[in-house]
Structure formats: C-alpha cells, structure tokens
C-alpha cells in the first residue's frame, strides 16, 4: 500500500486533468489498535445494574469481541477521512460509467432531505402525524405516473433488481389469478444481467432472445417463441447497446395476444424521461432507478430506490401498504389488499431517497425533457468525437450512452480494460468495460446531462490521446494506471485466492 515512487516520464506531458494531490498513506484500522485505548469514557452507572445474561440469555453474551480494534476517537476519524480522500466521486469529476447513469446529485436534494420534519420522521409515527411524508410519497407517485404513463406505484423496493423481482411477482400473481402462472420469462441478450436472476428467483425459467443484426429485439423471432408457457418479456429500453427498441408497441402486442406481459427494465429511463412514456407503448410493469434517472445518490451504497409502476390490471397485487387518500382528503396507508403480493421491504422503502427524487422532479418540472435531451446530446457528441478513433460495432442511433469496442487497439494488444485503467491517469472514472457481453471488448460510455461541453471535450481529448498511445507506446497503456496511489491490482489472484480476514 505504498505510493508509487514516480510515474514514467512518458506520461508527464500527456496528463492534463489529473494531478496527484496530497493524500496520506493509511493502513488497516486493526493495525492501529493498542490494548485499552477507548474513544470515550462513560460516567459511573447511576441505575441498578442488570445482568445481560439474565436479560437476553447467557448464550448471547460475550465478554470481548475477538480482534476488535481498540482505537481513540481521533484515530477513527482520521482513518476514515484519509480513506475518503482516495475516493473518486461525481463531485470530483466525470463518471462515465455506462449503464449506471452516474449523474450529479444536486445539492437542493440534500437540503430538502435534511429538513427537520423529514430527517427526524419516524417510520412508526401514526399516519395522522405523518401527513407531510405521506404527501411526499403521493406526489412522487403522481409525478412518476405522469412521466411513465403508468397507473399505480410502489416505493418499497430498495433498488432496481429488487424492483424487477417485485414486478415479476406481481405478474406471477396476476397470471396465477387467471389460473396459470406459466413457466418462462423471455430475456433479450442485450438485457441487464440482473433480469435473468430476478426471473429465476420469481420461480421462472429463462429463455434468451438473440438480438438481430441491428442490435434490437427480432420481432419475427419473438413471435415464434411466445406461447402459453411464456409469462413475460423483460425488455430494457433503450437496451444496453444504447439503442432504442422502437418496436415496443409491436412487441407488447405479440405478448398480449398470447396472454403474456411486458416488463420494462427502466434503468435506462434517462434516455426517455419527458419524451417517451413506456405506459403508452403497452408496458404492463416497469421499475425506475431513482439513483440513476432521478439524481439520488448512487455508488457507495446509495441507498438505492427501485419503485415499480404498473398498469391498472396489476395494481391490486402491489406490495402493502399502499399510500391512499381518504374521502376527506387525508393520506393513509392501505393494508387491506387481499391480493397483494405482501411486503417486500420494511416501512415505505428508503424514504429519504424518495424525498430527494421528488425535489429533483419538482425542481425540473417539464425541464426533465431537456435533461433527457442533453443526456442524448452529450452521448452523441462523444460518439462523434471518438468514432474516428475507436471501433463502433453498431451504427444505429445512439441514445444516452454509446458502446465502442477495443477492436482497433487490440491489434496492438491493448484491451478495453487497459484503456479504462489509463483513463484513470487522465483524471476520469473509467467507462464500463466488457459490457454488454454481446459486444467483444465493449467500452460503454454514458456521460449523462451533468457534463458541460468543456468536460466532454476534455474526455474526448483524453480518449484520443490514449488511442494514440495505444499505437505509439502500447506498454504505457497496458501497465496503467501510473499516477495513482497503487498500480494495477492483480484482479485475477484477488478472485482466485481471495483473503477475507486481516491477520496480524
């Protein structure tokens, strides 16, 4: 964990955006431990002592936690503050991690979520004392219904994949109600990797649908495989190639004709919000990732929020409780829903995140459309700036992200992973490497609307410079990063022989 002594001279002139700033070396907190150190000293007990063994049962009590570090308060603070300086974040620079929509989290969201009445709200407050918070949920649902063209929503799911599972369980409940839950969920090969996992957990088999030569769902082929065993198709739109599935209505019709449902993975809604309403194209259920499209924190644990929106025929299966409004205009929580799939999470989901999302939606209003257009513009600007330097495997119109491949650089032995590592030297977070899987050596770039033209230009300049290095000095790229605290990590050994425990 020692900083590299110096970077190769060959890199010094090329690095524009990246400068190493002072960051202190830091070991593990266990290494700071010294016996008897404490962060605080408690006053003498002034109430009668209780024997914990008696109160909670002897088997649950232990005198000491083996190996627990003993450190002072300032040591803990310095430890984590130092570690935090090693981080890269969207507040430090562009984060073009494709498929993840790492947009800026506006400060106004944070201001709203920290308002006393919201920050101190307890989830077990009686609904009569929580009218404001319930109104936030109600208003957010109203906004998201308008944006998606759907009829009802749940905010319980804690993230996108959790939303997928929730949506599929509702589809399953609906089909069961009709007498047959069916067996299979169809998933295009350009889908997010979580889709098949969610289908399996919901009790379905998975059948993959190959993309056609344009990188889109092959509707003729689809029509051939949808039968009475098929419960649903999970469609990511735009798909992970960054291409818009323009035949969504036709796809929905093929499914509905045979009693199957259309689930949309809304992770890429940043390409559609304010322009296309999936509900208008026949989608029966979809989830949104508030931590992507709606600017709530992402990465570092979020926490996320993956609300699911459904059409009317699925609304009675929504997880309980559902926010409702009484005839006299009060908000309440409706738990009397006999066909509900039940609870999928405690309380009302990650409420603080929901408040941030509403702040974002209300701050933009109809301007959400322009945010979407700017996201598309940035992705296309980067495509244009780089298409003479990198291989573009699919030439369809680019939406909010663009997928290149490393085909040209590979001739010099330089892969998408090497280019991504070198990008760190230029002060950018890497793009997404090797995904989608259907493009060999994929480089998936999603700038989002957050970046200015100047920042996009800097990114393009960095990528062009790396393309040139891959020709003239491939070793430099293959051994990157050079300007970081630690050099390239041995990911293979880390995966093959992982070490999970600190040992003195």
């Amino acid at each position: 964990m020692s900083p590299r002594a110096s970077k190769p001279a060959a890199t010094a002139g090329a690095l524009r955006n990246s400068r190493r700033h002072v960051s202190l070396d830091e070991g593990l907190i266990f290494e700071k431990s010294a016996e008897g150190k404490r962060g605080m000293e408690l006053p003498p007990l002034d109430v009668p002592p209780v024997d914990p063994a008696e109160a909670i049962g002897g088997s649950r009590v232990r005198d000491a936690i083996s190996g627990f570090p003993e450190v002072s308060e300032v040591e803990v603070v310095r430890h984590f503050t130092r570690l935090s300086t090693w981080n890269y974040a969207v507040d430090l620079g562009m984060y073009p991690l494709g498929s993840c929509t790492m947009k800026y989290n506006p400060r106004v969201n944070e201001h709203i979520a920290r308002l006393e009445g919201l920050a101190s709200e307890h989830p077990q407050h009686p609904t009569g004392m929580a009218q404001g918070c319930l109104r936030i949920l109600w208003d957010l649902e109203t906004c998201l219904r308008e944006i998606t063209g759907m009829d009802a929503a749940t905010f319980a799911p804690a993230a996108g994949a959790h939303g997928e599972l929730t949506g599929l369980l509702m589809i399953r409940a609906h089909l069961e109600q009709q007498g047959n839950p069916r067996k299979t969920v169809l998933i295009p090969d350009s889908a997010h990797g979580t889709n098949p996992a969610s289908a399996v957990i919901a009790g379905y088999g998975v059948q993959h649908i190959p993309s056609d030569s344009r990188g889109l769902v092959d509707t003729a082929r689809l029509a051939g495989v949808v039968n009475s065993d098929v419960a649903a198709l999970m469609l990511t739109n735009p798909n992970t190639l960054g291409l818009f599935e323009g035949e969504m209505k036709h796809i929905a019709a093929i499914l509905h004709e045979r009693g199957a449902q259309l689930y949309m993975d809304g992770a890429n809604m940043n390409a559609l919000a304010g322009i296309v309403r999936p509900g208008d194209s026949g989608v029966d259920a979809l989830h949104l990732n508030l931590h992507k499209t709606f600017s709530t924190p992402h990465g570092g644990g979020g926490p996320g929020a993956g609300p699911v929106l459904v059409k009317q025929h699925l609304a009675r299966y929504l997880p309980v409780p559902v926010v409702a409004i009484t005839p006299d205009g009060h908000f309440t929580l409706d738990r009397d829903r006999p066909l509900s799939i039940g609870r999928v999470r405690a309380f009302q989901g990650n409420f603080g995140v929901l408040a941030r999302a509403l702040a974002y939606v209300l701050a933009y209003g109809p301007g959400i459309r322009q945010a979407t257009e700017d996201a598309l513009l940035n992705a296309n600007y980067i495509r244009k700036g780089l298409e003479d330097f990198f291989d573009l495997p699919l030439s369809g119109p680019t939406m909010h992200e663009v997928v290149f491949s490393d085909a040209r650089q590979k001739k010099n032995g330089v892969t998408t992973m090497d280019i991504a590592k070198r990008l760190i030297d230029y002060g950018f977070h890497p793009y997404t490497t090797a995904f989608p899987l259907i493009v060999s050596g994929a480089m998936m770039i999603e700038p989002t609307e957050s970046e200015s033209r100047e920042e996009c230009d800097r990114f393009i300049e960095a990528m062009r410079s790396i393309a040139s290095e891959a020709e003239t000095n491939p070793e430099l790229v293959k051994t990157a990063p050079h300007s970081t605290r630690v050099g390239r990590l041995d990911e293979v050994t880390a995966a093959r022989k992982p070490i999970f425990h600190w040992k003195p």
Partner: protein
C-alpha cells in the same frame, strides 16, 4: 487446435465419447472469450443432466457464464482439481481441464453436435458477426 475426435456445442462446450462415457469441457475459443477463469462450479457425481441445459457455472474476471451439457445422462465424475486451480481451464481447456464425465443416456444426441471442421467455421462466423 480443435481435436477431430471431439464434438462441439454452439455454447462452446466439447465432448469426447469413449464407450458410454463422455468427457466434457469448454473450448479454447470459450476460454479466450472468458479471459482469466477464477472459479468453476460443477455438479455432484450422480446428478442428472439434460442436453442443452445448465450443469454448472464458470466465472472469469469478466463475467459468470453457465455451462451447458452437450448430452443427457448422469454425472459419473467431476474434475475436482479445478476447485484449487481454475486457471487450468485457460492453460489446457481440451486436456487436463476437462470439467465432468457424463454417462450418456442417449448416444444419438451426439449427432446433433458439430464436428471439428463445422465448429471452426462456426467460430470464424461468430468473430465476424456484429454484435459478436
């Protein structure tokens, strides 16, 4: 490179049949596509497998992929050495890094698989195709 006594699947597994027992592995093309293999999950001996269905998973630094059985039958033996040295799949995919041996229940299923020449045409096409 691709032995003539093997038969190949579209999912890039190979099988070599000796009597009633077929040895199964992944092809050199597959290991190249996967990159460094870090973990292989195999069934237990005695497990039933079906042609075209998943019998395990293989994990590389890039992705986790399913392993599909070329034929139906019962797992007679698994290559336990891969638990400690998954990298063998990158080194010797057609030899020491075989995955499972299957007691084949219907040898006729072999006729649905590709021979070496057909498989090499198949992967050459695959390389040209977009998306790959």
């Amino acid at each position: 490179m691709y032995p003539a006594d093997f038969r190949y699947t579209k999912d890039h597994e190979w099988i070599r049949l000796e009597g009633a027992v077929g040895t199964v592995g992944i092809t050199d093309y597959a290991q190249q596509q996967l990159g460094d293999v870090v973990f292989v999950e195999l069934p237990k001996p005695g497990a039933r497998v079906k042609a075209g269905e998943s019998f395990g998973t293989i994990e590389s630094v890039k992705a986790v992929s399913e392993l599909f059985s070329p034929v139906s039958g019962e797992v007679a033996e698994v290559n336990a050495s891969l638990a400690d040295s998954p990298e063998a799949v990158n080194r010797d995919p057609h030899g020491a890094a075989w995955l499972v041996k299957i007691r084949v229940s219907d040898a006729k299923e072999m006729t649905a698989l590709m021979d070496s020449a057909a498989y090499q045409v198949y992967i050459a096409e695959k390389a040209k195709e977009t998306p790959a």
